[in-house]
Every structure is written in structure tokens, then in C-alpha cells.
Amino acid sequence: MPLARQRLLAWLRRRPEARAWSLVGPGVLFLVVFFLLPLLIMAAYSVMSRGEYGGVERGLTLESYRRFFVPIYLTILGRTFGVSLVCTAICLVLGYPVAYAIARSGRWKNPLLFLVVLPFWTSFLVRTFAMIFLLRDTGLVNTWLLRLGVIREPLTMLYTPFSVMVGLVYGYLPFMILPIYASLEKLDGSLLEAAEVLGARPAARFRQVTLPLSLPGVVAGSLLVFIPALGSFLTTDLLGGAKEMMIGNLVQNQFAAARNWPFGSAASFILMVLVLAAVLVYLRIRDRRPMAAA
């Protein structure tokens, strides 16, 4: 065994590129086979004609893509981007302090971290119905506000943009907290102490020590909230009363009631291309900046 290990190491040392690819290889292979290849099938579908009963039939056409560029669908896309942006901002404001607090909690770190994800090991639907119970006109929040005399009439909280945002923020908060925690956790107490000793006030300490260190986590968290939020549809249906359409609902409908797979695929690919273009731009900017000194 040690002999094989030596040989493996010797071979790896001789080929730096092999080292990279041996790390990256298995994951990439898995993704290529079980995600990208299937996606290519959908890409093919997006340029085919809609079958009479669903599915696709022969005949290449760009009709599905052309069909998307009308005000109604573009508005849906735009609104979805807006909603996701707001959700990401709120998650950042709420999630950063939590991640920071957990990172600074010493021996309570792990339990606190688990407590963040624990609610999500229950069923999404039951959680959402619990939120409905809290927010509806005769629900818990209204009942208590009325009883305490804070309000005279029940507040309409459910089936509004407010309840949709509550649901979205709730669902994506861990996606913001966990990456920020991961990058903040290496925050060394001694660094902060040193800064304090050298005369920096709390705000400056935060700005110049903590924040730069957590930036990778902030970016990661923002991407992991913003991007999947674009595709969400259940929250709009359940907490928004299905009165609006986000792009996720549109795509879902195409594969369900509308039985228009090409259009559903086309809409998805338009969304994907937009997002990937933005990600590429971000990566280019990031790589051009010099690495922040540790």
C-alpha cells in the first residue's frame, strides 16, 4: 500500500495538470453525464415543434424562442428578477448577523448551525400551511394583534406580495447563512483584538477586518439565494394565492397543463443563458482583481 501511494504521489507531482483534473474529474464527469447531457436533450426539444398531445414531434423551429419575446413574458421575467433581488437583499440583511453570531459562538457553533437547517427537515408543505395559519385573516398573528388591541380590523397579510416575500426569505435564509458562516468562521479573534488594540473602533474593525474576510461567503450566499429563487413557483402559488406568475410558474405550466414542452424548455434556456452570462461577467471581474491579502 505505501508503495502504491508513493508511486501515485510521484506521478501526481510530475503532472500538475493531472493533479487538478484528478480532483475535478469525478465531479465533472458526474455532472456531465447526469446533468448536462440530459439538458442537451431539453435543448433539442426547445427547437422542435410541440406535439399535439404533449411531448415533441419532428420539425426544427425557433418558434418557441420567438414566442417568448413579447411584453407579457418579458414582464414576467423582469418581475421575477425583481422579486429575487429583493429576497436576496433581505436574506443578506437577516442572514449576515446570524452567520456572524454563530461564527463567534465558540462551543455553541455546531448546535446553532444545525438549528438553522433543522426547520427544513420537516415537510415544505406543512411548514407553508403553518405559515398560512399564522398569516391568514383569522390566523394566529391577527388574533393576537386584535387581542392586544394593536389593530382594530384583521390585517390582510396572506395572498399578498408580502406573504410571498416572507415565504421566499424563509425558504432561502439557510442558503445565505451557511456560506457566510463558512467563510466567516476562519475569523480569528486575535485579528480583531489586534485591530482594537491598534485603536480601530467597532465599525472600522468590521469594515476592514470582518467584512473583507466574509466577502466570498456573501457573494456565494447571494448567488445561492438569487439564482434558485428565480425558478421558484410553489411559494407564489401557496402563499401568493396563485395570483401572479413568476417565470417558474410559467415553465411549470408548460410541462403541466399547457403540454408545451418546447416552449417550457425555451423559456428555461433563455433564463439560464441570462444568468450564466451574468455569472461569467462576475467571474471575469473577480479574477481580474488582485487577491485580498490574508
Partner: protein, 364 residues
């Protein structure tokens, strides 16, 4: 490259390509579900009773002892998997999923299944209890002669309402246009149900494809949307019970469930007419246990079994022999009611038009 390098290289390549041999092994091991052409001929005899049965069905659509009793009597192990919408089941089958013996589609989905070859004809010679079914639910346009479908449960869509909040029973779809109840009403989150209701309101068929009729229905639907609290389907039951919702477009079975918990809930079939729906048992393409499937279908045609299912689910049974065995049976629609009830049919290419309309309604 020395010999040593090559061996290491091969080993590394083999390690990286672990998924490939595994996939090959899996492929070799798996049995592709081949379609048995004998199943296409309803006259041919089926083989002996198999030991397993796979059912793909709506949740809570059988009585608690239906399956266990069947398993005991016939020695068949049954697996039940659930879907929550026709379209989900259809999409899955159309994408190629096989292995389910029985699926339970609604009317218009049956047409799609048959047209795309996903439904197999019934071998009626094994369904000896067929005569228990009421002719009201047989031989409809979506499956003439019941070549493929065995009626399972039926229901109607109507308006459930709170008697203590809305003193006059809402006799018409018009109630959703009434600003007095603004914010207290819901329509189903289903394009067929919503657009269909507004088509009926103007006296048209709920399977209409005429652009002018559809435009009018769309306008009415958008007008009503201002008064709606939300689009919710069956789960609105809870809010009818608590009084958050005063009028809801839902199925009679769900209204009945709400009424059992809250006696003030009433149900009305609008005078302009509405949907009558029928869910059927269908044998799916790729069924591996056709004999067991038929024995199950015949088993649930027995009046006591059908009665138990109807009592447990709250929906109507098309089995007229079972009616006498149910305490509070869902009565069959009268001739007068049947005249204003319509089955939903598949819309073919016009599905795209309806979907466009629905998107416009939702985006308004």
C-alpha cells in the same frame, strides 16, 4: 513513458471512469420494460395471476382496508405511488416512465393517453362484475364503449359557500363578480375550471375553442379576479371551515368534507352549468402485471368494496349496486342536472390558446 507510468495512468483512468463500468453493469442487469404486443388485443387471454401490482393513483383514493384485503385474498403484493395532478402523471408517462400497471386519469387525460398509445385496452372478459356500473357513467365521448377505462369515482365542480355569511345560495357563477364579497372568495387554481366556468356563464361549452368566446371568458375571469382572495383548489377547505373564505369553486367531495367539520358550509351547482368529472382506472403501457391489474379492477367492482371506497373518500361511486350499502350516498345527478353538466375533453392544439389565456389572466 515508462511501464510504471502507464500502469498508474491506467489505474487513474479506471478510477476516474468508475461511473462507466458501474453504469454498464447496471445496464446489463436491468430489464428494459418491453411492451408485450399481446396486450394490445383485448380478446387475447392473459396469463396466470402475477404476484405483484403497481398502482399509480391520487392520494387517499382508496379505503384503508381496500388494498390489504385485496392483497390477502389474492396473494398479490401491491405498491401504491401517488401523484397530485393529472398533468404530472401524464408528463411522467410521456417522458417514458414505465412500470406502473394501473393509473387513474380524469376524463380529458384519457383521450391523451389513448391517442399517444399510453393506455392499454381492457380485457373485459376478466371484469365479471362490470354490470354493477351505472350506465350514466359509461360509454362517453372520451372513451366510446369503455375500451380503455373502468369508471372509478365521479364528482362535480360547484360553489361551496358559508350559509351564515352568504344568506342567498349563490345560484350562479355571477357571485364571483359581486363586489359585496370582495376578498372573501376563491376560484380553483386550474385553467380548465376557471375558464370553463366563465364559458358556461355566457352559455358556451366549457370545451370551447372559439376565440371570441374565449376572449369573453377571459374578460370575465379578469373581472372576477379583482374580487378573489386567491386561486386555490381543494386545500381551500380549511379556510371555508374557519370562515376566511365565504365562497369557493371546488369539488363536491371537498365541500362535503368541509361541511362535516363546519355545518354552515353549503354546496350549489350553478344554474349555468359546470363540470362533471370521472376518474377511471386504466392499464398503462409497460404494465408488467396485467392479470393482477384486472383482478384488482374486478375486485373493486364488488359493491361492498366500492361502497367502502366511496364512504372513505367522500366522492360518488359509479357503482349503482354499491349505493344501497352507503349510509349517506352521493346521489347521482338528476336528469335536469346532467343536462347542465359537461365532461372536460382534451383540447388538442387549442391547449396552447387556453394556456396563453391563463397566463394573461394570471399576469393581469
Amino acid at each position: 513513458m515508462t511501464g510504471l507510468d502507464r500502469r498508474e495512468f491506467v489505474r487513474r483512468a479506471a478510477a476516474l471512469g468508475l461511473s462507466l463500468p458501474a453504469a454498464t453493469a447496471l445496464l446489463a442487469a436491468c430489464r428494459p420494460v418491453r411492451h408485450d404486443p399481446a396486450l394490445d388485443d383485448p380478446g387475447r387471454a392473459l396469463g396466470p395471476l402475477e404476484r405483484e401490482l403497481a398502482i399509480y393513483i391520487w392520494s387517499d383514493y382508496v379505503a384503508p382496508d381496500t388494498i390489504p384485503d385485496f392483497e390477502k385474498e389474492f396473494g398479490v403484493a401491491v405498491t401504491m405511488d401517488f401523484y397530485d395532478s393529472n398533468e404530472e402523471m401524464l408528463a411522467k408517462l410521456q417522458a417514458g416512465a414505465r412500470g406502473y400497471d394501473i393509473v387513474v386519469p380524469s376524463t380529458y387525460i384519457v383521450e391523451v393517453l389513448v391517442a399517444t398509445g399510453l393506455a392499454l385496452p381492457l380485457h373485459r372478459q376478466y371484469l365479471t362484475n362490470w354490470g354493477n356500473l351505472s350506465p350514466i357513467f359509461l360509454d362517453h365521448a372520451f372513451d366510446p364503449g369503455n375500451r380503455y377505462t373502468m369508471p372509478w369515482m365521479w364528482g362535480v365542480t360547484g360553489i361551496a359557500y358559508r350559509r351564515d355569511r352568504i344568506p342567498d345560495p349563490p345560484a350562479s357563477w355571477e357571485i364571483f363578480l359581486d363586489p359585496r364579497y370582495r376578498g372573501k372568495m376563491t376560484q380553483a387554481d386550474d385553467e380548465r375550471d376557471v375558464i370553463g366556468a366563465w364559458l358556461r356563464y355566457r352559455g358556451h361549452s366549457l370545451n370551447a375553442t372559439d376565440p371570441a368566446q374565449l376572449e369573453a371568458a377571459k374578460r370575465d375571469a379578469i373581472h372576477a379576479k379583482q374580487n378573489l382572495k386567491a386561486y386555490i383548489s381543494a386545500p381551500v377547505k380549511g379556510q371555508l371551515i374557519t370562515g376566511d373564505v365565504w365562497a369557493a369553486q371546488i369539488w363536491n367531495g371537498d365541500a362535503e368534507q368541509a361541511r362535516m367539520e363546519q355545518p354552515q358550509v353549503g354546496f350549489v351547482l350553478p344554474q349555468e352549468g359546470s363540470t362533471i368529472w370521472l376518474d377511471s382506472l386504466v392499464m398503462a403501457r409497460g404494465a408488467r402485471h396485467p392479470r393482477a391489474a384486472h383482478e384488482f379492477m374486478n375486485y373493486v367492482l364488488r359493491p361492498p368494496v366500492a361502497a367502502a371506497v366511496s364512504t372513505a373518500t367522500g366522492y360518488g361511486t359509479p357503482n349503482r349496486e354499491a349505493l344501497g350499502l352507503i349510509e349517506h350516498p352521493v346521489q347521482y345527478p338528476s336528469g335536469e342536472e346532467l343536462a347542465r353538466l359537461e365532461y372536460q375533453r382534451d383540447l388538442g392544439r387549442d391547449t396552447a390558446t387556453w394556456d396563453q389565456l391563463w397566463t394573461e389572466i394570471k399576469a393581469s
